[in-house]
Symmetry: C2
Subunit: 423 residues, 2 copies
Amino acid sequence: MHARPERNPAIARLNDHFLKLSAGYLFPEIGRRVGAFIEANPGAAERIIKLGIGDVTEPLPAACREAMKSAVDDLGEKASFRGYGPEQGYGFLREKIAEHDFQSRGCDVSADEIFVSDGSKCDCANILDVLGSGNRVAVTDPVYPVYVDTNVMAGNTGPAAHGGGYEGITYLPLTKENGFEAEIPTQRLDVVYLCFPNNPTGAVASRKHLAAWVAYAKEHDALLLFDAAYEAFVQDDALPRSIYEIPGADTCAIEFRSFSKNAGFTGTRCAFTVCPRGVMATDADGRKHALHGLWNRRQSTKFNGVSYVVQRAAEAVYSPEGREQCRGLVAFYMENARILREKLSAAGIAVHGGVHAPYLWLETPGDASSWDYFDRLLHGAHVVGTPGAGFGRAGEGYFRLSAFNSRENVEEAIRRIETMTAA
Amino acid sequence: MHARPERNPAIARLNDHFLKLSAGYLFPEIGRRVGAFIEANPGAAERIIKLGIGDVTEPLPAACREAMKSAVDDLGEKASFRGYGPEQGYGFLREKIAEHDFQSRGCDVSADEIFVSDGSKCDCANILDVLGSGNRVAVTDPVYPVYVDTNVMAGNTGPAAHGGGYEGITYLPLTKENGFEAEIPTQRLDVVYLCFPNNPTGAVASRKHLAAWVAYAKEHDALLLFDAAYEAFVQDDALPRSIYEIPGADTCAIEFRSFSKNAGFTGTRCAFTVCPRGVMATDADGRKHALHGLWNRRQSTKFNGVSYVVQRAAEAVYSPEGREQCRGLVAFYMENARILREKLSAAGIAVHGGVHAPYLWLETPGDASSWDYFDRLLHGAHVVGTPGAGFGRAGEGYFRLSAFNSRENVEEAIRRIETMTAA
């Protein structure tokens, strides 16, 4: 028998690491505050404009909708019916991804290094399944909370620290002083999460900055987990959209991509992870293994692939019509971002981001804390944003606004913020 | 800083538990053997009839297809567009599930105890995220490999044992001698996986048997993980379809359900987990916590809900037309099962299951091992089944055939097996 600790009383044990999770996940907490406000001000409910969660609002591209209907028809005929598909995704989609998103930009990524999934949130979380315990994990601060919370759940951290964050995680501050590019660390780290264009700051990484990270990873045998969910918003073709545009990244980086933001798939659900065959990690004896094989095994065992209909919708993103329609979506949201940026600046609010990303990162006016400013905007302008402190200690004093909304709502929101700011 | 073990060289560490996984996952291994056979016998490829993997073959019900197309149209209009949905699933679906699958059968399950997901395989695997280490885990033998492999990955087992299985897991044999109902253990177990109607044996549990398990769980504070993916195939209304038909189960059992087999969703992807609010587990200090809250947190943090279009398809399963069409699908496959059962028996092969389940569990003729019989059927009849030994040691000497195929293929397969058996 495998040795087990003795204990009493006999009862199924839960994962104690869950109990370290402090407070609620950021977005449920925002939901609670908005709900309480609406309960106290029932008339206000329909006036509220949400520029908080990064959820798209424009219709799904026609090319994707047509592909889905055609796929539904496939399921109605025995000859074209599809049951279980490959857990890694259909070849028709993996090949288009490899060609259009990577090979066309000079990245040596092949279809079998692409794993189609139902969401980047899932992939960012699930990747920890193949990593061991004892890794020194770093995130930027502010940070997308999922990176941190999933490390807490996996037991990779200590308890919540006083003043925010968790013991055992290294936080790399992104501030206006460093131009929202984290300083390359001098200490050894094993796993580093990076997200560019960045959520929440809207910053974009220069080629030089990503090259410095790849050099760091290669020097220290670290693994980069690169979240490129917002790459479609990069406006300058000279800026990198994928970590694999940096030579050597294919031996030290896993990249997460999504159709959520470029093609409006937040409710349709499709994403993918790129795990190049050259990315290695070590076992307890110091032997190196390719993470590709482990991730393939993880996905084959714990996942059953994405809906056929949804994969056909994602494939249509790469058709000439689909690409055109997605470009239109991105342009629409980026025009929202431009309006918000210019009018907020004119109103005297310091704004970062919003140029190569659908997020604006405001400095909260005066000495307002970011949650205070959240409440002020909610009560004073009926506008919901996201307090910077919800993304980490270094987010205090900042506030995120998203460009995902109708033009009408964006213009109305900015009018109200202008009025409130002038008052 | 959180204490960490010192180690050298510095490099990201992988999850060593993955390296314990012995051989391939069963179905990839079958795929390899079939591929090798086809390579050696190119002409045989189109003659092969697959009664191996439990994948459906009939078209998706019309009610589901219509609902999907209508949902696609919703995504084409701003007013009806859906972005991120609730991670737990839409209320419209959770309420129909609660009403039709549970309340209508006297089970006190409410909509907020239902968590919609993209697959039962995922749910069965992910549930381990909320359970701690050190639980004494039991599975039946033979067993759906995912229960075991995910426990290996989570570090809940020792290494692979000689002769099959893993150290640290308790295997409860299902054999013809015990009527394929595992003996209720006398030792203490913390987590017990049960699957009825059973995959792979096709056995169904009596109310008395499930009541004995619930009594065991309550006496020992154990947690039952009840996989009811095949409940739609139960033909006798007196037999339980849900563990919650047993009084007290709502304090000790989590149930997994799927639309894969009753509604042909293997490629469309929708399932759900029932986690009643009364199901508890203990933390390290012996305090009890409801797993409902932990599972909710897990799903909110690591999952982003099922595609809106797919949830509308699942909702249609509960419409009058959808229910009628699903009944038709089940009846179709069960007629396949009846044909297989009767003809195999007539050919002198001892057959179990196939009455309340789409699986038949054959005793391999003569002294053939189950992998030998696999090769014999593949080479001699061009029929692919699943060797019992692939499901565990106690599966040796048995062989699984699935009733999921066209009538034509089932009849052709049985003709070939008859010829081969008579030869």
